[in-house]
């Protein structure tokens, strides 16, 4: 399915009362549709992230990506903003959850919303997608090769999510490369065991011939056959969990 869409930059208030910038792509369907919050990766609120937002709308979902770096570095290029925020210590988990909450509320307030909202993130955003799904009332979460979900990064603020995994509020789709070291197949297995033990609904796909970043079309890690197959899994997963009425 390919939907007509309208894409633009908007601003809305987030959890701290501050206005944040976001890129939205909205379906022009009058039918009720689900929404997707895309969490941009650590390199920033960039063209690749915005392209994915449009991809979700083209496939029938209202979609939004908050510029997580807007507070500290407004109105500059995405790479300058990423460098500035990194120098300041990065995005806190509290901010991430607050901004995803605001983005989900934005989507649910749209006239054609069916009140179902999913989240997706790649790389650092993969961990943050799981974090959001453990902290907020969401309907589907996709973790694309997020590291530090089941282990903390030594000497870093990047902490394991093991303690909050019991709070996972929705089904989780995990997409990983078997040649990835962060997360490694062993770490993915640990996550699988924890979710199984906790009785959580999840589906994992681990792809041969792929490492970290296999979705990234503008990077040498791109693996087109794997990415195409994995996109198919995303569409199937969101169709199952984000369609219909809530």
């Amino acid at each position: 399915m390919t939907s007509n869409l309208r894409a633009e930059t908007v601003h809305f208030d987030s959890y701290d009362g501050k206005s944040v910038e976001a890129y939205v792509a909205l379906t022009e369907s009058d039918d009720k549709v689900g929404g997707v919050v895309l969490i941009h990766h650590m390199p920033g609120y960039d063209e690749a992230s915005k392209e994915m937002v449009r991809k979700f709308a083209a496939n029938g979902y209202d979609s939004v990506c908050v510029n997580l770096y807007h507070r500290q570095a407004p109105d500059v290029s995405s790479d300058d903003a990423a460098a500035a925020v990194r120098a300041l210590g990065g995005v806190t988990d509290e901010q991430l959850v607050g901004d995803v909450r605001a983005a989900a509320a934005y989507l649910r307030a749209l006239p054609n919303s069916n009140q179902k909202v999913g989240v997706i993130g790649f790389c650092s955003g993969g961990r943050q997608s799981v974090l959001a799904a453990c902290s907020l009332d969401l309907d589907a979460a996709v973790d694309c090769y997020g590291a530090f979900v089941v282990e903390s990064r030594p000497e870093s603020t990047m902490t394991s999510l093991v303690d909050i995994l019991p709070d996972l509020s929705c089904p989780l789709l995990g997409l990983f490369g078997l040649e990835d070291e962060y997360p490694s197949p062993d770490q993915t297995e640990t996550l699988r065991q924890l979710l199984t033990k906790g009785g959580k609904e999840f589906t994992f796909h681990e792809y041969e011939g792929a490492g970290h970043g296999f979705f990234a079309v503008d990077r040498p890690s791109y693996r087109p056959e794997v990415a195409t197959e994995a996109w198919g899994e995303i569409w199937k997963f969101y169709a199952q969990h984000l369609s219909g009425k809530k």
Binding site: A84, E181, P220
Partner: protein, 88 residues
């Protein structure tokens, strides 16, 4: 993966960025996903002045071998200079 680890140092000097010369006050050094260089990871150096805004930045993205060669060349250059000149 994103490493999340960043070295930060204070600097005294100037750098020329997209908007011209600026006084450089800090540098961050990290090994992570580059924006432009075609590799999965790179040694990144940002020479910045946060007080002037995020656009006051000179960025480098180097492979590990180049980064080590650059670091050693900087040290060799400084080691070859008479001590009196280094104080200026």
């Amino acid at each position: 993966m994103c490493t999340y680890e960043t070295e930060r140092i204070a600097l005294t000097g100037s750098a020329k960025g997209a908007e011209g010369w600026f006084r450089a006050t800090d540098a961050t050094i990290y090994f992570d996903h580059p924006v432009h260089f075609g590799a999965g990871h790179a040694l990144m150096v940002d020479v910045i002045n946060p007080a002037l805004g995020a656009s006051s930045r000179v960025g480098l993205e180097l492979n590990a071998e180049s980064a080590r060669a650059l670091a050693l060349a900087i040290l060799r250059s400084l080691d070859g200079i008479p001590a009196g000149l280094l104080e200026s």
